[in-house]
């Protein structure tokens, strides 16, 4: 119990130093550059206290829940008994880890399809596109992108292919898509990549990657364990640009066939 309280206390202290810079920056600029009083001071102070308390509880909870769960899942999904392979030393191929891919895909899809910021981006995008993009379709595109990203990341960890062999071709594809896509959607598509990785998903996915790389023979967590987040950010950009392109083409084709009907 005392050990537990002690760890809580040290988290609280380090959280204070984490939050201090932004408080100093905001209050400093407000007081010394704009020279204005802070409106509703008690409310703001209460807000800062809640931020420090919330961050402390969140970080403490991560150590007891999301990090261990991610690692446990990685470990249980890769044990030889679960994979149905005989001894530790029997050769494992990347196809043997089908449930790892299944888990990675489901967690990516489920965590981003209901993400409120994804919904907000989807509504905005359908507004900009003038109806060629459906909000529902776009949400599925983002979620599919995130799911594919994590799955490919899991495959990469299992197969041990360097991360840049996925990211750099991915960038090239995104650049080609950017060149082809309708102008108005580009900035939103780029932002939709970062939006999928929420404060809850990031620790879980990171733990999954580190767990996988430490339980698969021949992989090192430092070299192979990371990259899931990066791929989860990259793929929604591709799927969103692709989806916008598809809507654009469909409208153009409909217009063209209407024209040929009008003047045959």
């Amino acid at each position: 119990m005392t050990a537990y309280l002690q760890s809580l206390w040290s988290t609280l202290l380090s959280t204070l130093t984490d939050v201090l810079p932004i408080i100093l920056i905001l209050v400093g600029f407000q007081a010394f550059v704009l020279r204005r009083r802070i409106a509703n001071l008690p409310k703001v102070v209460l807000g800062f206290l809640l931020v420090v308390l919330g961050l402390t509880l969140f970080l403490e909870g991560l150590d007891h829940a999301l990090f261990p769960i991610g690692k446990l899942m990685a470990q249980q999904l890769t044990t030889p008994e679960f994979l149905g392979l005989a001894g530790e030393d029997s050769v494992r191929k990347w196809q043997d880890f089908i449930w790892v891919y299944g888990f990675a895909f489901t967690i990516g899809f489920a965590s981003s399809i209901a993400e409120p910021s994804v919904m907000a981006v989807a509504l905005k995008a359908s507004e900009i596109s003038g109806g060629t993009i459906q909000p529902g379709g776009l949400r599925v595109a983002v979620a599919l992108g995130a799911a594919l990203g994590i799955t490919l990341g899991a495959f990469r960890i299992i197969s041990g292919i360097p991360i840049q062999h996925f990211i750099i071709p991915g960038y090239i594809l995104v650049l080609i898509q950017t060149w082809l896509a309708p102008r108005g959607i580009i900035a939103l598509a780029y932002d939709s990549g970062g939006v999928t990785t929420s404060t809850v998903t990031v620790p879980l996915v990171t733990a999954l990657g580190l767990g996988l790389s430490s339980h698969i023979p021949g992989r090192s967590p430092m070299v192979d364990g990371f990259g899931l987040i990066a791929l989860t950010c990259l793929f929604p950009i591709m799927t969103v640009l692709g989806y916008a392109q598809l809507g654009h083409w469909r409208v153009r084709r409909a217009n063209r066939s209407r024209k040929t009907l009008e003047n045959p």
Binding site: L62, Q76, I186
Partner: protein, 274 residues
């Protein structure tokens, strides 16, 4: 009873829907309103966690069918995550977001250029240092680095490494926000900046040690989260709406995209220098 007006249709991250409430004169009402807002935030946090917990539960019960060790401790941890996220987001809405947004709008509207740029850098730096996901991932990375013999296996060395990583990422986000502000002021198209950014990442990858590449790539996605996105986006949107001929929707965004590109380069350089 509670009137919420959505200011922005675009909301950077979960639960950060900026609301502007009609003020009540009575103190008791004010307290009640804060409690009501906390329960709304709690509902948001539950909605965020539910899909993840559901997927894990389905896999545990139907696929793995193995007992979970320390189930109670994990449930306790989940409860802490839930409460922590709720308080954190509620606190942001009460304190940081209103001040940050009014500052961002003020500087965007009439601030002198040097102060605007200094503010942009400070905003990017400060929000990133306080970003929960980055704190968690940096600590975890330091632990892995220590176990792998990349750094000394001592708490002090780990702390130093995690801190260095976070400061590097925060510096890079500060730079990204400055570049984003300049982009909006001068009207550079986002595509060109992104292409240059990608080229920079590819170049840095060629020289970086393999142990840092994965972490560097991930740090881009980790930074753009709960605190950074709403505040940085409001600076971008405020700036784009205060300048004639800029479209807040197409010009205001893209700052987040930049803020997830620069950390990759900076962290790879950090890894190469270490």
């Amino acid at each position: 009873m509670y009137l919420y007006l959505l200011i922005y249709p675009y909301d950077g991250h979960h639960g950060n829907t900026r609301v502007c409430e009609i003020p009540y004169p009575n103190q008791i009402f004010a307290m009640k309103r804060i409690l009501a807002q906390i329960s709304v935030s709690l509902a948001h946090s539950i909605r965020d966690l539910t899909p993840i917990v559901a997927v894990i539960a389905v896999f545990q019960l139907l696929v793995l069918k193995q007992p979970i060790p320390n189930l109670l401790e994990m449930l306790w941890g989940l409860l802490l995550v839930l409460l922590g996220l709720t308080f954190f987001i509620q606190g942001l809405k009460l304190g940081l977001f209103p001040i940050g947004e009014s500052l961002a709008w003020n500087f965007a509207e009439k601030g002198s250029l040097p102060w605007l740029l200094i503010f942009a850098f400070a905003l990017g730096f400060g929000t990133t240092i306080a970003e929960p996901a980055l704190i968690a991932v940096a600590n975890e990375t330091a632990m892995v680095a220590a176990m792998g013999g990349w750094i000394e296996n001592q708490p002090q060395a780990q702390q130093h490494y995690a801190h260095g990583l976070r400061v590097t990422v925060a510096l890079s986000v500060g730079c990204a926000v400055v570049i984003g502000v300049l982009r909006i002021l001068l009207g550079w198209p986002i595509q060109y900046l992104i292409i240059f950014g990608y080229l920079g990442v590819v170049l840095a990858t060629a020289f970086a040690p393999p142990e840092i590449i994965g972490i560097a790539y991930d740090s881009g996605g980790v930074t753009t989260s709960t605190i950074t996105v709403p505040l940085v986006a409001s600076l971008g949107i405020g700036l784009a709406s205060s300048i004639e001929g800029r479209n807040p929707v197409t010009d205001g965004f893209g700052m987040i995209a930049l803020a997830s590109l620069t950390p990759m380069m900076f962290v790879m350089v950090y890894g190469a220098l270490l």
